[in-house]
Assembly symmetry: C2
Amino acid sequence: MKKILIFLLLLPVFNTFAQNRIEKWRVFELTLKGTSKGNPFTEIQVSAEFTNGNQQKIIQGFYDGNGIYKIRFMPQETGTWNWITSSNSKPLNNKKGSFECIAPTGNNHGPVVVKDTFYFVYSDGKPHYSFGTTCYAWVHQGDSMADLTLKTLGNGYFNKIRFCIFPKDYDWNKNEPLIYPFEGNPLKDWDYTRFNPAYFQNIEKRIAQLDSLGIEADLIVFHPYDRWGFQNMDPQTDERYIRYIIARFSAFKNVWWSMANEFDFMSAKKMEDWDKFIRLFAENDPYNHLRGIHNGAVWYDHTNPLITHASIQSEETYRAKELRMKYKKPVVFDECRYEGNIPWSWGNLTPQEMVNKFWRGVTNGGFVGHGETYVTENPVKMPHESNDNLWWSKGGILRGQSPERILFLKNIIESSPGYLKPADLFEWWMPFSAVSYKDEYYLAYYNLDQPRSQILKLPEKSRYTIEIIDAWNMTITPVEGEFSGRSLVVLPQKPFTALRITKIKR
Amino acid sequence: MKKILIFLLLLPVFNTFAQNRIEKWRVFELTLKGTSKGNPFTEIQVSAEFTNGNQQKIIQGFYDGNGIYKIRFMPQETGTWNWITSSNSKPLNNKKGSFECIAPTGNNHGPVVVKDTFYFVYSDGKPHYSFGTTCYAWVHQGDSMADLTLKTLGNGYFNKIRFCIFPKDYDWNKNEPLIYPFEGNPLKDWDYTRFNPAYFQNIEKRIAQLDSLGIEADLIVFHPYDRWGFQNMDPQTDERYIRYIIARFSAFKNVWWSMANEFDFMSAKKMEDWDKFIRLFAENDPYNHLRGIHNGAVWYDHTNPLITHASIQSEETYRAKELRMKYKKPVVFDECRYEGNIPWSWGNLTPQEMVNKFWRGVTNGGFVGHGETYVTENPVKMPHESNDNLWWSKGGILRGQSPERILFLKNIIESSPGYLKPADLFEWWMPFSAVSYKDEYYLAYYNLDQPRSQILKLPEKSRYTIEIIDAWNMTITPVEGEFSGRSLVVLPQKPFTALRITKIKR
């Protein structure tokens, strides 16, 4: 608030405002004062060229209302960046300046990118193991609910959250959003040529808050749960909207683009439309943020080279191993049904089964996303009559028992010595799924089965320690002894058993 | 024992022996004294023509050792049956007689046949809902183990049991059988042209004992778990063996023919061999007993019209609904993994998951088979070193918790008003599988999910009672009130929930 006040005071004097010094991968924001006449969204173009040695980027700006234009830039190199603006409007043209880009500090690891075909990595080299959640409409529930959601996310269960840019209309989410993305009134006089900057400012505030918590913002560009017309906009509006959100959001390092939720449930869009949207992002996002597309009943062909990772809705998370090979990309089960108690088939998993789906996905070389749908209203209501707060839709608090166990798994994975891949060492008849890092580390999971023993075929030239993990009770118990070659291990004979096998370094 | 003594005493006097009077569907056995010279198995043919009004059957006999020939016949009509033998050996030729076939009594319901495409029925019209189990080698473990197995089966959990005609060589089943199906010594001098009658007498004793318990004997004709050579016999031997077991066993009303267990794991056999075996049974079994073939990794094409039902190995029992439509036959998941604790992937289901697979199969219009693989030896041994008694292999006692729950389900299904088919009434988004009988009765199952409520779309013109079933705790609790049309039902919010919905008859 204070910053905005200073900013407003300065504006009459300087019509250009920007930082002098920012960290690599942070948002450099150039604010320019221009005209508010006519329709600045459609009539005014403004961009800036940023140069640093032989590095050069042309970045599109956007109109933010009240005669304010902004150009946001995420520097990916340290050193001095010079900039110069270009516009068809004189007050915005030929402005110059420079800033110093310094090394990142603290938890600034830069944007997440794909590494070694199947994995994610932050730009500074730190591995990113995706453990996501879903709160489709959390940014449209006002500040107090958003604050509560952020507080919950602060517990560190998840490092990615999927949510919709447009408001959502669905069971348990019939409330009207506080503000709308376009000027005008719902279903009366939308002016699709004029965005409502406040709507997008709210979203970017949330993106920045997530970033401060180390959480990736997986932005859902289109979705079918809509009563306002946003799923049926014309192609020109769709494209203008995409270019606008790229200009506004792409400088935030934690942004991922999800073309749609359940793209195939949007009857007004054809497969060519989705291909076109993907290409629009690929060609116009200066930072090449991760791009996915989430399916309903029909799967997108994730072999499209402009898709960076396979974003899958399927409860069969164990298929990660097969889908890796099919798509040759990271496989993220962004939706595998939700922990909850609602009457819809996708929202009544036990916490046990949610945890199981995480372990199965991860020990088959994939990534899995969480969601939660607990209704608590009394008396029980029909879904369309209920305005209960379900995490999956509105955020707020978590009621389930899976997040704590997901965090337990996340901690195990984050402490592994390297990226884990499906383990060749283990044979098909072995009753678990397993991943390994070279011959140094194995993680095997027994699903909900209850074997009493395991015959392992460990490498003969090394010795290993074995720990038995109880994935539900979150215990890790060392097995006495050292193991090598063909080894018989006695197991606790109950569901949620996993093994962590670590090579002993001499 | 007494009967056999009398029989032996009579033989020197009469060289033909048979009953005068038997129930429909029981075994009429004609015993003839002939030569034991040469090789009666290959050199002597004997058959009998049975006639009763315009009914006529030619039935092949078989050599039972010690100069004894038998012709077994299962009459399918009451009244007087006349018979006359035919043979290339004079003492067996042109023998005549008759017997009276009387109405069945007690639990004699006749052979099971297919009804209305997807179901089984006893020949007297009583529905047969298949609830099977598997004890591959129980008939090869000697009398005391077999008696124990029969005692366990007497608890009524199951009405079908799958087992192998040949002995079995596999982990936890390395013991030598007491006797062999052929003359000679293992791997030295088998004489494949001479059967060992005692071997087959033992099996038919078990078939008869099962029948007295009301249990179908699903006989596995070939299997790959073999160290004696029976999986690699030449085509002539295979065919002679098939004709021999048809002659010996087919008059037992409770016989089903399973061409193989895991047919595709028998590398010496080609698909044409299986087609040929199926045709051999179809053309030579006078009673057209049920014929199936059980898969390993490769599924047989169960659309073959000579296959009576799809015998499936798959843990995905919920696919019954889809497979019914694919094969247009009853779908029996004869193997969906086993309740147990062994280190092989197919033998370590929790009892909960075994029960779940039964409910999912049944509420998708299929039938499911049980199996149990609990190792109890201490200390824990490598599977190939263990000679533990596992139900799945040797029979004996059941250690699991699923059989009692399977019986609970069996009782529910057997008390339904008619054959249940996948319910059209319920829509895809409803979180359960459901079957119904007309609009009179619905059975819906929620898998391991935990919905808190259900919106049902019941027929509006009738009123229904609803009961909540806990499939694990085996309780049935009526919901207060009567229901009609769109109805909200509050559920207990835990796994193993099912609903039984019954039309109120005014």
